[in-house]
Amino acid sequence: MSNACAIVGIGQTKYDTKRIDVSLAGLVREAAVRALEDAGLTFRDIDAVVLGKAPDTFEGVMMPELYLADALGALGKPMMRVHTAGSVGGSTAIVVASLIQAGIHERVLTVAFEKQSESNAMWALSPRIPLQPTVVFGAGGYFAPLIRAYIRRSGAPENTGVLVALKDRQNANRNPFAHLQMPGVTYDDIANSPMLWDPIRYHETCPSSDGAVAMVMTTESLAKKAPTRPAWVHATAMRSEPTAFAGRDQVNPQAGKDCAKALYAQAGITDPMAQIDVAEIYVPFSWFEPMWLENLGITPENEGWKPVQEGATALGGKLPINCSGGVLSSNPIGASGMIRFAEAAMQVRGQAGEHQVDGAKIALGHAYGGGSQFFSMWIVGSEKP
């Protein structure tokens, strides 16, 4: 038994380095109220609230859903809190889809957020644990060696990362919510930016952002009453594997491959490059676009860089990726996965404005987290499956 589930409301905050104009409660409420307005609903109409975010240490508030229940209209209602590292925004949306598909609730509000400016994210990611040398330094230091290994293995042209970054920065200029706006950005701006964690350049990395995203998800009968076109959940999948074990392929992890396979099987997708109209995938460093194209089975192994070089992943290309500017342009960590899921839904609702892919009917939302080990994905469509 699985009921249909629709996304009928989406709200995002403006993403920025420091949203000092709002408190934590103000930030999540900004997204939640926008999602409710989009759905033509109020807090009163909501049956349950599900909150997703990455580690509590990012803001220094333990189990913040307790303090935020009031601001999210959740008093006296069921509330849950999901945390699956960087993939959490996606996992949270999947929990909400489950609540609808299982027939437990009819209208659920979900919010994912991060307000990294209220604490020290670098410290939160790399705490100084006794007995261990701190040589990794946050996400960049951890992922740079994987990127180097990918380049070696695939023989990808060295400017592939620059091309991805240029595309995503140009896309971000079309998205009013995107954190980094670089009007008139050029190839040289990216290529000449300083190396931080060689081979990762400054403009090939994601920023630290404050921000929140919210969605209202409902049953089929309520979706039909929604004021705007819903997006329909066609498939969801999650897969995890351990961080480090003997012989683990961290560049092209099995969990991601298995997750995509299960997802496509559910959605009836046999040729993802042809059948998916637009994708929002979690790319915190430019090189992860070609890496995930392979992991997602969209291209054969070692060929993920080819569509990038051909411009196939740009707006107007065969499979536009991260039309919103992606994680590279806005990265409130705990929300980044749900932003991917929400942007995918916006595309099939025809709601993406300047970064809309014309006539998008099937979209992929993708998130990953930890040491490339937690994956969550969904396929949404303009028609009920």
Partner: protein, 180 residues
């Protein structure tokens, strides 16, 4: 609703302080025992879900390391709630209602000995106006108890009897920490 049965259960004894083992070493035998008792083979488990909170251990992503106790290979369908493990059970139950899923494993862990718990719990409050006052968890519980006594007309003795009953019940529970 689809009926879901709990077919096995395992726990480590609650003790004041685990002196040697880390989270993974504590969890491994417990998960293995629960699986063993269930007679459900590992590859039949379609979903795993855990509950824990980073602020108890003082380390971000503590659930990530705990996954090393599971043997998550080939990769598993898995989720985590930053809440009490009862909610992990709830998430698994939800999925069993609509997914083609016959067996799930739920686990939870917590280590209260690592940090100053009454102060740590203070981090759950409004971070702008309450946490900076550092009201500890015991004092807040006392405020609640006082409010309850005033509202209900019960006495301190009534509350004390709850404690007596629980300590007495614990005598029959080999996993309980405080008994008497």
């Amino acid at each position: 609703m689809r009926d879901v049965a709990i077919v096995s259960f395992a726990q480590s004894p609650s003790i004041r302080r685990e002196p040697a083992r880390n989270d993974v070493e504590m969890l491994m035998p417990v998960i293995a025992e629960a699986l063993e008792r269930s007679k459900v083979k590992r590859d039949r488990v379609g979903f795993w879900c855990s509950g824990s909170t980073d602020f108890l251990t003082g380390q971000p992503f503590s659930f990530v390391g705990a996954l090393d106790a599971v043997g998550a290979w080939p990769p598993i369908s898995e989720s985590h709630v930053e809440m009490d493990g009862a909610w992990a059970l709830y998430e698994a139950w939800i999925r069993m209602q609509h997914e083609n899923l016959d067996a799930a494993v739920v686990y939870a862990f917590g280590r209260s000995s690592l940090g100053p718990v009454p102060d740590v719990m203070c981090m759950q409050l409004d971070p702008y106006v309450l946490t900076p006052l550092w009201p500890d968890a015991v004092s807040l519980a006392a405020l609640q108890a006082r409010a309850y006594l005033e509202a209900s007309g019960k006495t301190e003795r009534d509350l004390a009897e709850v404690a007596i009953r629980n300590r007495r019940n614990a005598k029959a529970n080999p996993n309980a920490q405080v008994k008497g």
